[in-house]
Each structure stands twice: as C-alpha cells, then as structure tokens.
Amino acid sequence: MSAAIEAHRRGARVTLIDEAEKPGGQIYRQGATGSELRVGLSSELKRKNELLSRFSQIRDQIEYLSGCTAYALFQGPELHLSDAAGSRIVRPDAVVLATGVCERAVPFPGWTLPGVFYAGGAQALLKSQGVRIGDRVVVAGAGPLPVVVAAQLARAGVRVVAVATLQPVLPILLQPLSLWAGRGVLREGWQYLNHLRHNDVELLTRCVPVRADGDSHVESVLLTRHDGTGRPVAGTERRIGCDALAINYGFTANSELALMAGAKHRYDAGRGGWLPVTDRFSRTSVDGVLVAGDGAGLRGSWVAESEGRIAGAAAACYYDLPVTLEQELQKEFEKRSRQERFQNVVQQMLHLPPGVWGWAEDDTVVCRCECVTLGRIRQAVSQGHTTMNAIKRNTRAGMGWCGGRMCLQNVAACASGGRPAPDLKPMTPRPLARPVPLQSLNRQVGK
C-alpha cells in the first residue's frame, strides 16, 4: 500500500496486486465482516487507519486487483498473475515485491494435532473473524509475537493458562540502545505485558512445549524448562490441560518470487531465511525488481511502511533515478535505520539455539503437507542427499500444497544439524509459487 501510494504520488501508472480481498495485508488486516473488531491497541489502530485512509484516497486512481495471485516472476520483469477471471502476464517497468513473511514453528511430538495453531493464526482468527481459538489456551514460542497474542486473547476473554517463552523477554528489550530506538514499539509491548499481569496470566520464561497430547485434538501440553541451549531440563516438566495451543518461533520470508527471477540472496535465519540482497533503494540484483518490508528481511510493520515509500519512489523512476532522490527520502531512510537498530535487538529473541532441534522424534512430521518425518529426512541426509533440492527430490519434503514455505527452514535445520550453514542453497523456486487452478491458466485474459 505504502509503495503504491508513493509511486502514484510521483506520477507512475500503478497496479496493486493483492492476494487478499481487502487491502491491509496481515498486520493491518480488515475484518471479514466490515465491522472493526478491536483487540489491538489504540496506537496500532491509529497507524492502520491512517494508512488505509491514505490508500482509499488513491484507490480509484490506480488499478487495484484484489483476490489476485502472482504465481511467477521472471527477468524483464515479467509477472504472471491469476485470479477468478483467468490468468495474465504483465510486463511493468518495475515491480515492488511486498510479499511479507509466514510463520514458522519448531516441530515437537503432537504439533500436528488439531488445536495447535500458529500464534499469528490465532490472532488473525480473533481480529478478522472475532473467534477465540479455545476456552483454555497455552501460548508459547520465541520473540515478541507470543506475548502480544497472549495479551490479545486474554483481553478478548480467553483464559490464557500459560505463556511460555524460549528466551527471557525483559533483559533483551531493556538494553539502552533498544530502549531509545524502539520506544514506540516498546510502549506497545509494555501495555501488552500489563494486560497479561492484570489478567493473572502466568509468564514462564526459558520454558517450552515439548509435547502436545490429545485424542482428536489437543487436550494437554507438556511444558519444560530448557538449559539455555534448548535442551529440556529433567524434572521440570509440567503438564497443563488446555483446548488450544498457539505457537510461534519466528518467520519465513516469502522470497520465492525474487529468487525465481534470479535475485542474489543471502541466508539469515532470524530474519526469515533466504532473503534477496537489496541496496539502499530496495533494488535487488535483477533489473526492475525491488523488495520492501518483511519479505526483504523481518523488521516489522514500522520498517515496512518506510521501506514501501522508499521502494515505491525508486520504482516510479527506476531507470532514471533523480540525484535528489536520496535527499528527498532522507526522513524515510532515518526512520528505517532507527527501527532496524531496535529490530536487531528483537532478533536476539528469535535466535533458536541448536537444542530445539532435539524436541522432535524420528516419527515426528516435519513437512506437514507430504507427511515427511524427521527420521525420513535424517535417513536421506545420511545417504548423502545433503542439499535442499536433493532432500526434496528424495523425500518429497517441500513438495506439497504450501509450496514448501512451511517446512523450508526446518528442513534446512535438519540438513545442517541446526548449525548455521551459510552455503546451503534453498530449494529452487519454480512456478507456480502458489497453487493456481488449471482452468485459470487455461483462460488467458487481458493484454
């Protein structure tokens, strides 16, 4: 939205392709009912309303394609689209990818049981649908999201029986650098922590769920303290009854379109895995292809808005950047780097120590779509299938409906034994980046 507004302001002809039916993406999500369901903070709602209102002023002056999927990107740039009307190919001067991230979790026995949700999923169901995922809920994981979601669930009347976080929350956030750089975000975080305290929610730090049990859906969760490297400490197990568990251990960047186009990339587990390399103006190594927001590395919605403006400006005059652009965008560059300094601190909370990869057992499913177990992947690796492509071909991990996004980083962790492997290449992204009905491909429309 931010990139579209800026590119339009600078006189470019803009098409905005949105997979959703309504603008807003994941963070500034709009309710399916049109009625605003208030579970967030007033400051977050204010940011959302400001951006949506700026977008509504240009909506009729740009081409806005909602419910439309970009399923391939090649050099050119040449973008392949599909929606209910059919499929089409567009060749813009420049394309800004703002594809965001999806959630990830560390596998453990029972994590595929119905009633185990991603924390952001639980939040989406609450925000856009007005539905609580359960009556008694455990929330767990790394980084700030589990705390935020727990507070929102508690505020919405859910009995949050425990919040378990991989790392202690406060020591990291109270570093002087982060206190200043991230004062806006921290103020919101502090309010969420206060909600938890007022609702008598138990906050267990350095504590993780290592098992979920239940007949047809989750009925209890086994929480245990870990030794700091992710290994459970014997004798600290606690079984907690619940009807839902919400987990989040960070995110995977939706970078497959940039990678498909051939953009140079790097690996950064804490920021979303394989990320396209970009310059100050968010340009990738491929002509006409720019990336903004979390899809270029997890840094949150505040950065995304500034970076959208930067990328939108650069896209609007891609082949003839005015020398004054740097100066015109000075404020956005500053905002972005201030937030990035804070996000560097938040990253430390998303660091997954090697011991977490010991929670799964040989028969624990890692690739949910294709039901590929940890044991099966280990077997493939021990037989010499050590690259991501080889593991995929040998086990089918990453070949399913989600396009390999859900298990990508977990398979990488299996392949490298949980150690950073900067040379590991991702599975080659191929069209279709998202499932598209054959009849849509068969019906070419438009230019």
């Binding site: 997979e19 994941q26 309710g31 399916a32 009912t33 049109g34 009625s35 369901l37 579970v39 999806c102 959630e103 595929t112 049981l113 119905p114 009633g115 185990v116 949700f117 991603y118 952001g120 999923g121 639980a122 989406a124 169901l125 609450l126 649908q129 007005g130 539905v131 609580r132 995922i133 359960g134 009556d135 919405a156 009347g157 047809s216 859906h217 989750v218 009807d243 839902a244 499913v365 949910r368 779509c369 294709e370 039901c371 399913g400 409906w401 989600c402 996004r405 859900m406 499932p435």
Partner: protein, 97 residues
C-alpha cells in the same frame, strides 16, 4: 461444547446454517468456514495421508492444513472460504480422489 461464547461478535440477528459431516452448524454472515467450525468446537478438519488428524494452523490461507471438501470440491481451504447458507462441508480423507 458451547460455541456461542467463542465469538466476540454480538450481531447475531442473521445467523445462517451449513452442514459439517452431516450435522448443522451455525455461522455468522461473513464468517469463514474455519471460524464457524472453531466457534462450534470443531477442531478436526482433515485426515492426512499418514492417517493423522489436522486442523486450522495458519488461519490466513498459506499452510493449506485446513483443506476440506466443500460442496464436493476437495482441497478447499476452510479459512479462506466464506460460510454460506446450505453449504455442505466434510473432512477431507487423504487426497480424497
């Protein structure tokens, strides 16, 4: 399980009905099939190819774990499908071909 208290919406004047596994389920206008099923305490939406049971995971259409058979169409994501009066939804069994 009392489903109504899983909803924070109070505009209950236009309730609609659809079928899940042959049983009637109430939904609010605009609600997704996944949300309506969760509000009514139905977590188990699919049996995977290995026989394990699955339900809603990401809630935003990315993971495809909640794929059901809706009005005869398999691989339909419950979280991305709006509940409609008279809709027939059932659990997908494996590939369901």
């Amino acid at each position: 399980m009392n489903g109504s208290n899983r909803r924070i919406r109070s505009d209950t004047d236009h309730v609609l009905q659809f079928e899940f596994e042959g049983r009637s389920v109430e939904a609010m206008p605009g609600e997704s099939v996944a949300a309506a099923l969760l509000a009514n305490g139905h977590y188990n939406l699919r049996t995977a190819e290995d026989g394990s049971q699955r339900g809603v995971l990401c809630g935003i259409g990315v993971c495809w774990e909640c794929r059901c058979v809706v009005d005869g169409r398999p691989n339909t994501r419950a979280c991305m499908t709006e509940a409609k009066q008279g809709m027939r939804v059932r659990r997908q069994q494996g590939l369901d071909v």
